[in-house]
Symmetry: C2
Subunit: 124 residues, 2 copies
């Protein structure tokens, strides 16, 4: 009861900043949520359909964490049926570039990594 949301570490006093970032978006889904929201504001079900394989529960959890850390805003429109819109905050804009650099690297380095993996597995 009321145990706080600990899906993400509560501390931000780590000495390794990189680990702090990973504590924020390093889980299985948060990064993808941010990517999708980067295209523009989305509703819950839109996100659910866009992100292949995510469960309702994990989408909720991820969004809550992102919201709690100020990376995503949640806007409720009191319609019926209910309508909720999620969007990224300015904070996220500042990491869009490095994040896309990592994506690009993944695409470009993918083959080399697979090759390294094969080589390693062969030797062992």
């Amino acid at each position: 009861m009321s145990q706080r949301n600990t899906a993400v570490t509560d501390q931000f006093t780590d000495d390794c900043p990189l680990r702090e970032v990973l504590a924020l978006i390093g889980d299985k889904w948060s990064a993808q949520v941010l990517v999708e929201l980067g295209e523009g504001p989305r509703r819950f079900t839109q996100l659910e359909r866009a992100i292949e394989g995510i469960s309702r529960r994990m989408l909720t959890v991820s969004l809550r964490n992102l919201e709690r850390n100020g990376l995503v805003t949640r806007t409720v429109y009191p319609d019926s049926p209910p309508s909720v819109e999620y969007a990224t905050t300015a904070l996220v804009e500042e990491i869009r570039e490095p994040l896309e650099a990592l994506s690009a690297w993944a695409r470009h380095a993918g083959p080399a990594i697979l090759e390294a993996r094969r080589a390693y597995d062969d030797r062992c």
Copy 2:
């Protein structure tokens, strides 16, 4: 026995490249290992001392994963006592910049994130 090392996903066919990167270095220690090795080649015990809180086991596991994915090389010098040197590969050079950008962001955005967290926790 001989079940392959699955601390990191075996697939690199994911549709979200960002998630692939996180599958490589998104765990608790790998990023810090890379950061430390970024300073130059290190020996096992050097890493163990430099990375606060890491256990021998997790250092081994992380290094093995990084090695398997071609991000780190392992060189054994047949001395007595044994001596092993770890170093990053060229692959890692290409993500040093975006990684450092994320670190910088963590330092700079840290206060805002803490503030957002406080605000969120207050409301709930």
